[in-house]
């Protein structure tokens, strides 16, 4: 009995049956996984190290006991907390509004017939392909001319945007004139999101049964009632898709934020801008930067987790 057979018998595996191609396949897959995950892993490890530890060990090696610290996360949370709140105040309304308007537009463009409809659809589609860079100057000019704070003054005093919270009393969410620029940013992102959300909803609404919508009309429902009681409830999977997509887009956007939120506007900065404050000046503090990146990415991850199953349904086109 050879050593090889002996080994095979002991581990209970027929070594002859192992396909070398399959071994190669799995090895390649494991290699690819490592390749994709290594930056993430290195980032996490760096975020858990002291600066001294980071300077002396390769980035992907886990921290030693002495070198382990949660301090970078503390610093990151401290620095970013208000910016993350700003980002939430920006991303949630911008996402919900663009999904809702996209859904309205798609319903009107898909489930009704009117003259010139296709031309309007074409304009919506063209809207998707306008590069951000092409509109930066017009956008900054526009928001320089339009004084949102002044416009909204009769209905809403943005400078003291406060809310009554039980137990805590009055919580002032925003107390800076620059907060008007967050509203500008909400409007901009909503407008920019509408073409793609319209297109997504349109694809979905095309598949709705015409007979069902006709049945609702014969049942006496108006166009808006049909939307509210039939189309809207049936579009939840597509809302999950657009919410996730738009939330990620708006949350991660830096370009519009840099243009629309005036520089040095500290309190109004969104997370992507505030991340810059973690660089630490002349000496790069990589650990706090990495911790900041994780903190800033957390909300998008949460959104995926919350809407993930609906997202899958929407992508698969199930009604």
């Amino acid at each position: 009995m050879s050593v090889r057979d002996d080994l095979a018998e002991r581990v209970g595996v027929d070594l002859e049956a192992i396909d070398p191609l399959r071994v190669a396949l799995y090895a390649t897959l494991v290699g690819l996984v490592a390749f994709y995950l290594s930056p993430l892993e290195s980032g996490l490890m760096t975020a858990l190290k002291t600066e001294a530890e980071f300077a002396t060990s390769p980035p992907f090696v886990p921290p030693t006991v002495e070198g382990f610290t949660l301090e970078p996360f503390g610093v990151a949370l401290n620095t970013l907390s208000s910016a993350i709140l700003n980002s939430i105040m920006l991303a949630v309304p911008a996402t919900v509004l663009s999904a809702l308007f996209g859904s309205f537009a798609a319903y009107g463009l898909t489930n009704f017939e009117w003259r010139g409809q296709l031309g309007v659809v074409a304009l919506f589609i063209a809207g998707i392909f306008i590069p951000y860079q092409a509109v930066l100057i017009p956008l900054s000019r526009l928001w320089a001319i339009v004084d949102t704070q002044e416009l909204l003054a009769p209905v809403l005093d943005i400078t003291v945007f406060s809310a009554q919270v039980p137990v805590l009393g009055t919580v002032e969410l925003a107390t800076h004139p620059h907060y008007a620029s967050i509203i500008n940013l909400i409007i901009t992102h909503t407008a920019y999101g509408i073409p793609i959300t319209t297109l997504l909803f349109r694809g979905y609404y095309k598949k709705l049964s015409t007979e069902m919508l006709e049945a609702a009309r014969l049942d006496g429902a108006s166009a808006f009632t049909i939307y509210r009681r039939i189309v809207l409830p049936l579009s939840m999977p597509m809302f999950a898709v657009t919410l996730i997509y738009q939330f990620t887009q708006v949350w991660n956007d830096l370009l519009f934020a840099l243009i629309i939120i005036p520089s040095g506007s500290g309190p109004a900065a969104v997370a992507t801008i505030a991340l810059n404050e973690l660089t630490g000046g002349i000496i790069q503090t990589f650990n706090t930067q990495m911790a900041g990146a994780f903190v800033a990415a957390l909300p998008t991850l949460l959104v995926y987790v919350l809407f993930g199953d609906k997202f899958a349904k929407g992508v698969a086109g199930n009604t």
Binding site: S209, E211, M212, E214, A216, D219, G220, A221, L234
Partner: protein, 379 residues
């Protein structure tokens, strides 16, 4: 309660500049409580007609009236009609109860409790009371069909419109629902327009049937009248299974001469074909007599090509003069073998004669009982 009148109704579609006629000048009055079946091959305009009554399509020309009220210019919601669709068109996210309530909530001011009561009542009438809290996706095709019916019935409309409501059911369930639907309509006494391409449904369900072809109304008649006294060749060929046999023939005095055989006409028939050069002779398969004796008049030597046994009867495909095939039905117990030589008699009293160019009926078969208007009396 009132009659539903289609008064010279036409529908044109614009197809890239050219006008397509979907429905051409259709006039029919459906009496209060009547069950009218609109039947015809696909693309004949029957669904368009129904959709015009529903208000889902506009009327290009003509008027639709309910009683004396013109309704073709009103939106669907103001027409007091309910429609049952082929796909059932249920709202998938609502329960059966929600589906049945929807129309009442949207079109009436009824109190919630009254709506609930009506829905419960209707659902037990249809035998779906125990399904009220389920969603359409959890129901079988037959159950969904009942919910769709229930949704129409609770509305208590002036007119029911049904667009091939049974065609998605399997054969067994379909014939069961056919009877049930008929009984239901009789009990409710609501004027019903029923669209189908299935001539069995047309024959069995309708008080009257309206046969459409190429957008033109061919005939509106009781089922038996349409069967025995078709207005033209199209109706004769469309109603009846297997279809009527047709032979194109030349008129030569009091004789018809065709490719395969000639046919002597009686004085009466000869008079009917006077003025036509070419006619179509029609005979229903069950009227072709398969006999043994070639000496009888209007009897022809034929060869049996194919036999289709149906149990109660056999459809026998006969060859005449080498290739002309036609069908005869004989009793199910009678043995006829392929290849056998038999004599087929085409009795003159069962023959229909149509003008070969226009298709108009020149003479229908003679019948002893002339009472075709009241189908119940003949059944």
């Amino acid at each position: 309660m009132a009659d539903l009148t289609l008064d010279h109704v036409s529908k044109f579609f614009d197809d890239g500049g050219s006008k397509v006629v979907a429905v051409d000048d259709a006039s029919v009055t459906i009496e209060d409580g009547e069950f009218l079946v609109l039947v015809g091959p696909s693309g004949c305009g029957k669904s368009t007609t129904l959709r015009m009554i529903a208000g889902l399509e506009t009327v290009s020309e003509g008027e639709i009236r309910l009683g004396d009220d013109r309704m073709d210019n009103r939106p669907p919601r103001d027409r007091d009609i309910a429609m049952v669709f082929q796909s059932y068109a249920l709202y998938p996210h609502m329960t059966v109860r929600g589906n049945m309530r929807f129309g009442l909530e949207e079109s009436t001011e009824m109190a919630d409790a009254d709506i609930d009561e009506l829905v419960e009542e209707t659902s037990s009438m249809l035998g779906i009371a125990d399904l009220l809290d389920r969603k359409p996706g959890e129901l079988s095709g037959g159950q969904q069909q009942r919910v769709a019916l229930g949704r129409a019935i609770v509305r208590d409309p002036e007119v029911f419109l049904m667009d091939e409501p049974l065609s998605n059911l399997d054969a067994k369930l379909r014939s069961q629902m056919r009877t049930e639907l008929q009984r239901l309509q009789e009990d409710l006494g609501v004027t019903t327009v029923y669209v189908t391409h299935d001539q069995t449904e047309a024959m069995t369900m309708g008080d009257r049937i309206a046969i459409l072809n190429d957008g033109e109304l061919q005939q509106v008649a009781t089922p038996l009248e349409a069967y025995h006294r078709p207005a033209n060749r199209f109706v004769a060929g469309f109603i009846g299974e297997p279809s009527m046999n047709f032979f194109e023939m030349d008129v030569q005095g009091d004789e018809l001469v065709g490719d395969a055989f000639s046919y002597d006409l009686s004085a009466k028939s000869a008079e009917a074909v006077e003025g036509s050069e070419r006619v179509t002779l029609g005979i229903r398969p069950e009227d072709v007599e398969v006999i043994g004796d070639a000496a009888a008049d209007h009897a022809y030597e034929t060869t049996v090509d194919v036999v289709e046994p149906m149990g109660n009867e056999n459809a026998v495909y006969l060859e005449l003069g080498g290739e002309r095939r036609f069908v005869a039905t004989v009793g199910g117990m009678r043995r006829v073998e392929a290849g056998e030589s038999v004599v087929a008699r085409i009795p003159e009293d069962a023959v229909h004669l149509f003008d070969a160019t226009t298709g108009e009926t020149l003479q229908n078969r003679s019948l002893e009982s002339a009472d075709l208007d009241a189908p119940e009396a003949n059944l």
